[in-house]
């Protein structure tokens, strides 16, 4: 019985396909024909207004223009990675487009699940590829020299501070600690309750491992993006291991864990954003989201009291040969400003759209056209200024024209500060790429994250932490094949040299 229904449905589907195909062929002469009439594109992303809302908003517009129906399916954020990977790797192929984190590409490309978009990107005019920031174009969207995704969002970490309290933003991590110490326990929002020096998402299995990388990068990478901030490029030895550079970063992180709310070890970015925008913290490390959130009266008590600045740096950097910290000079820190080595960390990488290789050809065309439409300046330059969306700036034109920002409610100074910090990070030749080798989720999300959590909770000391991370990473590398992993690591770095 069920079988019959399935057969009938299948037949009907085939028939309707033939009909549409014939119809398409028959009506090509008519000028009114829409290019993707009758095509349905299934898009997968996570539930919530951040990404799904703009896609759902642009879907009907796109359908009107091209005839392709956009169907947005969502799953909870925390399970997006496994869900899409399970779907693709078992050949279920329920989705044509996934809007995901390009940091996961290592696994998706290794499995050959994603369509190579290199030629399409070159051919498409709406997209204005050159307008996309070089970092997103060459790193985020690209893996081993081929373009697989279209960026919809720009992500890296910055420091936010209360500009009404702090006049000189921190330049080094030592400055950051000094400022945090100064404001810890003081009332910062006029409710006569003691507030906090810094609010950092140190919760386990949340964002803590990106936060520690934001600190460590300044000590570990000084020779430009191509040097890599996670491993040595000769034999893939972990830099997150027993050496003075990582040790110094761990000291900073541990000190900061005492200069915040008492339950800082249990805060994720949702909590720290809430605390910061309600005026309870002097400093915070975060992605671009705080900018738009801080101007929204529904969420913020600190409108126009927020400054942003590139991640602090260090005056000493790691010498990889000896494992010791050395002073910055023209040779050790070629990109230093005022003798301080900044290494802005492109954590996560920014939400991007990718296309399933196994979808039908016309669906792939429609899917690409849709992603290009959403990413095109006309749409995205407005989307990035809406606080509700999770889209942060990633196009050059989004920095140049500030009208949309002012219109969204940001003051002149806040706009200049916010965009200035993003631009400074984005233009840094010493930007640190997030780790993108096969199974990087295990390296960071399991090994690094667990060790850092144990270190902060005092379960293990500094030396044990460094050893635990490097042992765990080396074990995984050997399991997966050191040469293969090294090649993948170098390939992700090579493209931006």
């Amino acid at each position: 019985m069920k079988r019959h229904v399935a057969l009938t449905l299948g037949l009907m589907a085939v028939l309707s396909l033939i009909v549409t195909a014939c119809g398409g062929a028959a009506t090509t002469a008519a000028p009114a024909a829409l290019p993707y009439q009758g095509v349905t594109v299934n898009v997968l992303t996570f539930t919530g207004p951040q990404i799904a809302e703009p896609l759902q908003r642009h879907g009907p517009e796109f359908e009107k223009a091209t005839g392709a129906h956009i169907n947005v399916a969502t799953v909870p954020f925390s399970d997006l990675y496994q869900k899409a990977l399970t779907d693709f790797s078992t050949g279920t192929n329920s989705y044509d487009v996934i809007v995901f984190d390009p940091q996961w590409m290592g696994d998706y490309v290794a499995g050959g699940y994603l369509e190579d978009l290199t030629d399409r990107v070159k051919a498409n005019k709406d997209l204005q590829w050159d307008d996309v920031g070089a970092f997103f174009r060459d790193f985020s969207a690209t893996y081993q020299g081929k373009t697989y995704t279209i960026p919809l969002d720009g992500d890296f970490q910055m420091v936010y501070y209360r500009s009404d309290l702090i006049k000189t933003p921190p330049e080094t991590w030592d400055d950051f600690i000094a400022l945090a110490k100064e404001y810890q326990g003081k009332d910062l929002n006029g409710d006569s309750k003691p507030d906090y020096g810094t609010c950092i998402a140190m919760k386990r299995s949340a964002q803590s491992y990106w936060m520690v990388s934001s600190i460590a990068s300044a000590f570990l990478q000084s020779q430009g993006t191509g040097q890599g901030g996670f491993f040595t490029t000769d034999n893939l030895q972990p830099l997150y291991g027993p050496n003075e550079g990582f040790g110094a970063a761990l000291d900073v992180y541990k000190t900061l864990s005492t200069l915040g709310p008492p339950d800082q070890l249990n805060l994720d970015v949702g909590d720290t954003r809430g605390l910061f925008t309600s005026g309870r913290c002097a400093l915070s490390i975060d992605w671009g989201d705080i900018g738009p959130l801080a101007v929204d009266p529904a969420t913020s008590k600190v409108q126009d009291k927020v400054g942003a600045v590139i991640l602090p740096g260090s005056k000493k950097v790691l010498d990889r040969a000896s494992g010791k910290l050395v002073d910055c000079d023209a040779k050790t820190c070629p990109y230093a400003t005022n003798g301080v080595n900044h290494a802005p960390f492109a954590a996560f990488g920014g939400w991007s759209g990718a296309i399933n290789k196994n979808s039908k050809a016309n669906v792939k065309d429609a899917a690409f056209a849709f992603l290009a439409y959403v990413s095109a300046p006309a749409q995205s330059n407005v989307d990035v200024t809406i606080g509700k969306t999770g889209f942060n700036p990633y196009r050059l034109s989004q920095f140049k024209s500030r009208d949309a920002w002012l219109k969204s409610g940001m003051s002149e100074k806040a706009t200049a500060d916010y965009l200035g910090a993003i631009e400074a990070s984005l233009n840094s030749p010493n930007m640190v790429l997030d780790l993108r080798i096969p199974q990087n989720a295990y390296y960071q999300g399991t090994v690094l994250d667990t060790a850092i959590a144990q270190f902060l909770a005092g379960e293990i000391d500094k030396d044990a932490t460094m050893k635990q991370i490097s042992d765990g990473w080396n074990k995984k590398t050997d399991e997966l094949g050191r040469d293969k992993q090294l090649a993948a690591y170098k390939a992700t770095l090579g493209v931006t040299k």
Partner: protein
């Protein structure tokens, strides 16, 4: 008459009454305060949640309907109603089936003696292992299943009869409950592949079958105990009057164990109503259930407490309604005595 006998025994003294009320009141507060907090939070703006505890709307803070509109009429409207309908259908269907199959099996296990041959079971598992290996090696699964069944029957007919060792009812029951011992993370991928091969992903049926299998053991175990407390004499009398097993099961056993049935029903319903991991994997979009929407409110911006509160509230309302409606049946009590007396 029954009631009054009951009442005379279980009416406490005034002091006992006072103590009873205090204890029940304290626990009621423990239960209700978190719910009150949910209710208040659902009317708060993000800034009210983040800038400190506020307890009473209009006094401490200005309530806002923003979360309710977002869930019920705004962006999430379609998601909410679609997942709501799916949840209702899937949980009611799977619970009813689980209760039917499960109480029948429990009846069987308390009234008859089963003796599955150990050898037959081992042969069965052997056939399953062989067919999995065959599928891994690339044999189409349809052929494999048929071949495995054929092999099993042949084996059973030829050498199966020689095995002497058999298992008993308790072993069957323990085997059933042991199916719940493995955490779902370990089995979710194989189950996903199973339903994918059957072409049933993203359907109500897949979820109903999965929840049915997950809930059966609990139903069997709980109902077994209730059935055991029912004296066998009742069925004997019925059998003398010519009632079949089916009949005495349906018209004697089931009505008598109504409190147990209702308790079990509620428990199992709640499980399917709230299940997350299987729902995540066996659905893509159409058949998604409410727990997914709840869990999804913790995204890149951290938990959206106000949306979570609304969703949890609208999620428990129907189940509470059901609990109120069914509570009476649990409270029937002392029926066995009534019939015997």
């Amino acid at each position: 008459m029954k009631r009054s006998r009951y009442r005379s025994i279980f009416t406490p003294s005034p002091l006992g009454m006072a103590v009873t009320y205090v204890v029940l009141g304290v626990w009621a507060f423990v239960v209700l305060f978190p719910l009150y907090w949910l209710f208040v939070t659902s009317f708060k703006l993000p800034i009210d949640v983040n800038s400190g505890p506020f307890y009473i709307p209009f006094v401490d803070f200005k309530p806002s309907l923003h979360a309710w509109t977002y869930i019920l009429v705004g962006d999430l409207r379609n998601d909410t109603f679609r997942t709501y309908r799916n949840t209702v259908v899937v949980s009611l269907a799977s619970t009813t089936l689980a209760l039917t199959f499960g109480s029948a099996a429990a009846y069987g296990l308390t009234r008859f003696k089963y003796q599955p041959k150990l050898g037959a079971i081992l042969m069965f598992i052997g056939c399953v292992v062989l067919s999995i290996i065959a599928v891994v090696l690339g044999v189409p699964w349809q052929i494999t299943v048929v071949a495995a069944i054929a092999l099993f029957i042949i084996l059973l007919q030829t050498i199966g009869k020689r095995f002497k060792r058999a298992l008993g009812n308790n072993d069957i029951a323990f085997w059933l409950i042991s199916q719940r011992m493995l955490p779902p993370v370990a089995v979710v991928i194989p189950i996903y592949i199973l339903f994918q091969r059957l072409g049933m992903l993203d359907t109500w049926q897949a979820l109903i079958i999965a929840y049915l299998a997950a809930n059966l053991p609990i139903v069997v175990w709980l109902m077994r105990d209730y059935f055991q407390t029912i004296p066998i004499e009742l069925e004997e009398c019925a059998a003398i009057d010519g009632a079949s097993y089916y009949r005495s099961f349906w018209s004697i056993i089931l009505p008598l164990s109504l409190p147990g049935l209702v308790a079990t029903f509620l428990f199992v319903l709640v499980f399917s109503w709230n299940e997350y991991l299987l729902a995540l994997f066996l659905t893509n979009a159409k058949a998604q259930t409410l727990p997914l929407t709840v869990a999804a409110q913790n995204a890149t911006r951290g938990p959206e407490w106000w949306y979570l509160s609304v969703l949890i509230l609208i999620m428990i309302v129907p189940v509470i309604g059901m609990a109120i409606a069914l509570e009476r049946y649990i409270a029937r009590g002392l029926l066995i005595g009534a019939i015997k007396g």
